[in-house]
């Protein structure tokens, strides 16, 4: 089962994403800020990261920058942000994100991106 790490400081958002992903058969772990996410990423491997931007202690960009410096297999990361501006997207990609989604993300949009990023398309 593919493992996804949800990084978001809002429990409501985590719950929302978690339900969508678990219904689709993914194993989901949660972290509520960048620091905790880094700790989890070091403890066990994840196949994908879904990352919020604005978080206490360490934000999503900071988390990605650190993540990409770690000596671990580098897996896709998607920033899920409330901002749709080009500048924000640019910053996300520079920090090490591979994708960018704008909140609120519909279930099908989320699953489509997650599946493709994970290389899953059963045809």
């Amino acid at each position: 089962m593919k493992r996804i790490l949800l990084v978001d400081d809002a429990a409501t958002v985590r719950m929302y994403h978690r339900d969508i992903l678990e219904c689709a058969g993914y194993a989901v772990e949660e972290a509520w800020n960048g620091i905790e996410a880094l700790e989890k990423a070091l403890q066990s491997p994840f196949d994908l990261f879904l990352v919020d931007v604005n978080m206490p202690k360490l934000d999503g960009y900071g988390f990605l920058r650190e993540l990409r410096r770690l000596e671990i297999p580098q897996m896709p990361a998607i920033i899920v942000s409330t901002e749709a501006e080009a500048d924000d997207q640019l910053q996300a990609y520079r920090s090490g994100a591979n994708g960018y989604l704008v909140k609120p993300v519909s279930p099908s949009q989320l699953l489509t991106h997650v599946r493709l990023m994970l290389g899953e398309h059963s045809q």
Binding site: T12, D19, Q74, E85, G96, P104, S106, R115, G119, Q123
Partner: protein
């Protein structure tokens, strides 16, 4: 209510409180950047959460709040009290909305207007220019796409307002041969009267890619605004054929000029973009050509495979994003992990379209890239791969990319219903039904809120259940007390000594377990006093501003715990005291300055635990209480007579503040000062078996100490005997027990007194107080048992016949006709089944 909504509500409450706290904190230290960041994060997250549901009233207010904070954070506007007031009012409103949602799962229709007012009030705090920028309200897009809040530079084609993703899509479309059109739709002001719905019309524009609405001129004030006047212009980007658009807008051709989009606009804006992205110009140029050329000449690889429209769009987006990422990496920000991650994504993406062999090639390219410190090898692979997978003969084109695109921008639900059935990968059943609104109930939330919570594991339990448990344990404690009697009887009455001993040892075990159980359940009921304290920063702020005083609030020992009931009943007395301190204690800044004190007064609320009691101190550095004024007032109000006026000490005078009907304030304000303050405090505190003590020094300040029992559940009681009957006296009222020889009791008129360690102590016979005619009994040495008890700040001796044991008991209030007896605070069962009446010493003396 769905668990998601519950989670939302509880998190909203938490965040709103957090925002309030941070605002308070910032008020003290406006330059605290950490607090500012945290405040912004809370507001931002709360707004994000509300976006998951359709609560426009809430989102509107939070959005305005967030915009405001953005400007404060960037230093465009200074943090001010007015700003804090606005935000606090907004948070109060959000809490009201949460209340609505909790009751009915929706927001009361009447709130819409308030929400507009509050949002407007917040926006008024922003500089005028910012308002003009931002007030262009956002169209709720049918596509689920977010419409951009534009910037203020309307360059001729307005293209920098189009979100980047849409621009990329547009480039692909236009290079695939589709013409794009830009429509500026300016409905007539009176169009509503012609049965037209411009908003609907704009949204329903055929093949709409993107759109936004802007007001033509700044909005007039709400009061004079004519809501039947259309003042909006709509800017629309579409890929529909011109004829269709002309047909669509046929009744208003002059209001909706259709402009063909010049491909150069698009390319231009993209090039600008790419320049921003990377400084390694060679790669940038190279990469740009890649994107533009291969997309232009060939359909995207997604056309090859049986993708749904949404998947196709996502596929292209992911691919072009990886390309952008590769282009943006150069030596200055070289991070191998980032390249590796892109390689992983590319490998995965290639696998999606069945190209397993790509893995090795990507790995080789990655190796080169890492070795050379440049992303070029991967870019080259990507370019080659794009070209290769798009060989014209291998295309079984069912859908042109243009179709893909247009459909992707329809609502996902529509797209799903039209194409997904035969084309798409199997999707989980919930997906099709809930593609559009995230708050759809179609999603089955199998999790509870606490599963998703990563903090300390906690459990919310109805208090009634804990109370029931508490009562049961109370009964257990009482029934267990019957065992020693049973043991006694076994020995004395039936003469089985061994059995008696066994009962006793068994009793010891049960006793220990019952004690631990009682302790454990008491722990459950324990609550930090911060529950009460947290409301004070706001209260002090609001009141001190109303009074024009500068006050700093210091909270200490917030983590001190006490029984829930006690903590809760502490709230009202504390508010009374703090209000009094603010109103009468702390002087105005001018007066303080004149007295040589700092202009800002300080109120400290401190909680601490002292053995079995919780002590709350409220300390102010205000003007203190003048005993002379109290005496005069008390005399004027008839509380004391002339003789007492000279006799009573200053401390006694200050204690008079607890008498009913004494208000010392010169002017009665709406905050406090109706003379119902302090006596109410004392009544409330003594109801929970606590006591209040006041110390005051004129000109220096006042300290009020409230002592409370840790727990109300178990009362330690001293049992005394009087005329052959047993009575209980709560231990917290007992000072000490002494035996006084009858000879040292003196009579002063009708009252008895004795001198104990140099103090004159009034004595009363318990029998007499209870209306029993029998005189107190003395022991063999002709000494009388005297129980010294607290009584209204004084110590009083009660003459009893004998002292018995002290016991921990669960006190039950008196019921029925007995409930009117104020001499008793309650009753309890003794181990032998008899009832023990517990005296309320304050009432009987």
């Amino acid at each position: 209510m769905t668990p998601l909504l519950e989670q939302f509500l509880s998190e909203s409450t938490e965040f709103s409180q957090g925002i309030g706290e941070k605002l308070m904190q910032l008020e003290k230290a406006p330059n605290d950047h950490d607090a500012m960041d945290e405040l912004f994060r809370l507001m931002h997250t709360l707004k994000g959460n509300s976006g998951l549901f359709t609560f426009p009233e809430m989102t509107r207010v939070l959005h305005a709040g967030e915009d405001l904070l953005v400007m404060v954070r960037s230093g465009e506007i200074a943090y001010s009290r007015r700003l804090a007031d606005g935000l606090l009012a907004a948070m109060d409103f959000v809490m009201v909305l949460c209340g609505d949602i909790e009751k009915t799962e929706s927001i009361d229709a009447s709130r819409a207007e308030d929400s507009v007012h509050i949002a407007l009030a917040l926006r008024e705090l922003m500089p005028a220019t910012a308002n003009a920028d931002r007030s262009g309200d956002v169209l709720p897009a049918a596509t689920g796409q977010r419409f951009s809040n534009g910037k203020a530079n309307p360059a001729p084609p307005l293209f920098d307002e189009v979100p980047e993703k849409i621009r990329w899509d547009s480039v692909l479309l236009s290079q695939g041969g589709t013409n794009l059109y830009w429509i500026v739709y300016s409905p007539e002001p009176g169009c509503f009267f012609q049965g037209d719905d411009p908003f609907h019309r704009a949204r329903q524009t055929p093949d709409l890619l993107w759109g936004c609405a802007r007001q033509r001129a700044p909005f007039p004030p709400l009061a004079v605004m004519d809501t039947y006047n259309c003042v909006l212009d709509f800017y629309l980007l579409t890929c529909a054929p011109r004829e269709e658009l002309a047909e669509y807008f046929r009744y208003m051709p002059d209001q909706a000029p259709i402009l063909a989009v010049d491909p150069e606009w698009l390319e231009h804006s993209l090039l600008e973009d790419a320049k921003e992205v990377g400084s390694d110009t060679a790669i940038v140029r190279n990469g740009n050509e890649n994107i533009l050329s291969d997309k232009a000449s060939l359909p995207s690889p997604s056309a090859l495979f049986k993708f749904s429209a949404e998947e196709a769009a996502a596929f292209d987006t992911i691919l072009s994003n990886q390309k952008k990422i590769l282009m943006s990496i150069d030596r200055s920000n070289w991070n191998p992990g980032q390249i590796k991650a892109v390689a992983t994504v590319l490998t995965n993406i290639a696998r999606v379209v069945g190209d397993a062999s790509a893995k090795d090639l990507i790995e080789a390219a990655l190796g080169q890239a890492l070795a050379s410190g440049k992303s070029a090898p991967l870019l080259e692979w990507l370019h080659a791969w794009n070209t290769e997978t798009n060989k014209p003969d291998s295309i079984e084109e069912e859908q042109s990319p243009a179709d893909n695109r247009a459909e992707a921008l329809l609502s996902p639900a529509e797209a799903a219903s039209s194409r997904r059935v035969d084309k798409c990968a199997p999707v989980p059943p919930q997906e099709t039904s809930s593609a559009q609104p995230p708050s759809d109930d179609g999603i089955k939330f199998g999790r509870r809120a606490d599963d998703a919570y990563n903090g300390p594991k906690s459990l919310k339990v109805d208090q009634a259940k804990i109370d029931l448990l508490m009562n049961l344990i109370g009964e257990l404690v009482v029934s267990k007390n019957a065992l020693p009697y049973l043991a006694q009887r076994a020995e004395a009455q039936y003469g089985v000594r061994d059995l008696s001993r066994e009962i006793k040892s068994e009793y010891a075990v049960i006793n220990r377990i019952a004690d631990e159980m009682q302790g454990a359940i008491m722990q459950v009921r324990m609550m930090a006093v911060s529950f009460v304290f947290q409301r004070f920063p706001r209260l002090v702020r609001d009141i001190s501003r109303k009074l024009g005083k500068e006050v700093q609030l210091v909270l200490e020992g917030e983590q001190t715990e006490a029984d829930k009931n006690i903590v809760e009943s502490l709230a009202d007395p504390l508010i009374h005291i703090v209000r009094n301190s603010l109103d009468h204690g702390i002087e105005s800044p001018e007066v303080r300055r004149a007295c040589g004190k700092p202009e800002t007064g300080t109120i400290t609320i401190r909680a601490s635990q002292e053995s079995d009691t919780v002590v709350i101190e409220i300390i102010d550095d205000g003007k203190g209480i003048d005993p002379a004024i109290i005496k005069r007032k008390a005399y004027e109000k008839g509380l004391i007579d002339e003789a007492a006026l000279d006799r009573i000490s200053d401390q006694e005078a200050i204690n008079l503040i607890f008498s009913a009907g004494l208000s010392t304030a010169e002017v009665v304000t709406d905050l406090s000062g109706r003379g119902v303050g302090m006596d109410v405090v004392r009544t409330a505190v003594s109801k929970i078996n606590g006591s209040v003590h006041i110390e005051s020094e004129l000109g220096k300040g006042t300290t009020i100490r409230i002592s409370l029992p840790l727990s109300m559940a178990v009362t330690q009681v001293m049992i005394v005997e009087s005329d052959g009957q047993l009575f209980g006296v709560p231990m917290d009222q007992v000072v000490e027990t002494v035996r006084i020889p009858r000879s040292s009791i003196r009579w002063i008129k009708q009252s008895m007194t004795a001198v104990l360690r140099g103090r004159v102590i009034p004595l009363k016979a318990l029998n007499g107080l209870l209306g029993v005619p029998t005189p107190p009994r003395a022991n063999e040495d002709d000494e009388l048992a005297v129980l010294l008890v607290h009584s209204g700040g004084e110590v009083l001796g009660l003459l009893v016949d004998a002292f018995k044991a002290t016991l921990g008991l669960i006190q039950k209030p008196l019921g029925g006709v007995l409930s009117g007896l104020s001499a008793y605070s309650g009753s309890s069962l003794l181990g032998d089944g008899s009832v023990l009446m517990i005296l309320n010493t304050r009432e009987i003396v």
